[in-house]
Amino acid sequence: MIGTSQAVLAILVMALVTYLTRVGGFWLMRLVPEGGFVRGWLQHLPGAVIIAILAPMALEGGWAAPVAIAAAVGLGLMRQSSLIAIFGAVALVAVLRQII
């Protein structure tokens, strides 16, 4: 079922590189002293990284992503469960796509 050994080797190298990216930051931070500045920086990191993933996503591909983002945040602020917030946002986009 599995073909050439070159293809399998290529996949395993991809897997190794990917795992190294997953543990790399965790390892690198061992070298950084856990001082006040670093602690503060790590506090800011999740928000900044998620924004950096989300912002280009929101600007590409028309209205669907901004509408879904607004709906999910709106439902989240209304204290709906995350399941309802996400499926609500997805359903809204699916329905709007049928109408438009």
Partner: protein
């Protein structure tokens, strides 16, 4: 699974934020449940990947091997563009790194929490780290969650969705239609936006987010892969940290 028996009460989020880390079956199940919508969208995108992988010439075994061991959608899609009968391993390794390098900053943010776990558990947990369940775990951590098993629980359900979807796609071929019809393409942005809301620092302290967004969008236009996430994430977080340091 190495699970430490749960000694905490059933509603850990109601507790006041406490330092430390634990790793329980409870946390695993909580993560598994929370990431179920992501896993369902992962099935659809896994199917798309399976269809494209077959067209690119990967066998079913190779497709599943890649989904099971790499478990990173964007880099797998990119690999298909570079695929041939004898793919260049160096080119694939470089492309994979350029796309997955964003994991490095994500893993760094997990250090204060996951370094309190036994090392093998931390290293197993990181194997299941993806953008979405990392964001979910950081968001829950900010709300007081200390159970690190939510990362593994959410990662495992997403892993199953991605692998099963890949198998269906490869077996069924192109007869599946466009996942966008069901809105599956907006699950991910909706989820990230929802995970951001507990991290909101308030209007007066939100400008580092604007820095992160601006740098990410600008560098997305010029940088390959996902370097824009590294650039935007570092710029925004360092801006915030320097502002805090000056304030003191």
């Amino acid at each position: 699974m190495t699970d430490v028996p749960a000694e905490a009460p059933a509603s850990p989020q109601s507790d006041a934020p406490q330092p430390g880390a634990k790793f329980t079956w409870d946390g695993f199940v909580r993560g598994f449940r929370m990431a179920t919508p992501l896993a369902l969208s992962g099935v659809l995108f896994g199917m798309a990947f399976g269809v494209l992988a077959r067209e690119a010439g990967l066998s079913l075994g190779e497709t599943l091997l890649m989904s099971m061991t790499v478990f990173a959608g964007a880099s797998q899609m990119a690999a298909l563009d570079l695929w041939s009968a004898a793919p260049s391993i160096l080119v694939l390794a470089i492309a994979t790194f350029a796309i997955n390098v964003r994991h490095v900053v994500m893993g760094a943010a997990l250090r204060p929490w996951f370094s309190k776990l036994p090392s093998p558990i931390a290293h197993l947990s990181l194997w299941f780290m993806t953008d979405a369940n990392w964001a979910m775990s950081m968001s829950e951590h900010r709300k007081g969650e200390r159970d690190a098993a939510i990362l593994v629980g959410s990662g495992v359900v997403m892993w199953f969705g991605w692998v099963i979807g890949g198998a269906i796609g490869h077996l069924a071929g192109a007869a599946l239609g466009d996942p966008r019809v069901y809105g599956a393409d907006v699950v991910v942005p909706a989820f990230f936006a929802l995970m951001l809301t507990p991290l909101w620092p308030g209007w007066s302290r939100s400008w580092p987010w604007a820095v992160a967004a601006g740098v990410a969008v600008a560098s997305h236009m010029v940088l390959p892969g996902y370097w824009h996430v590294v650039a935007g994430g570092l710029a925004g977080s360092l801006a915030g940290a320097f502002a805090d340091a000056r304030r003191q």
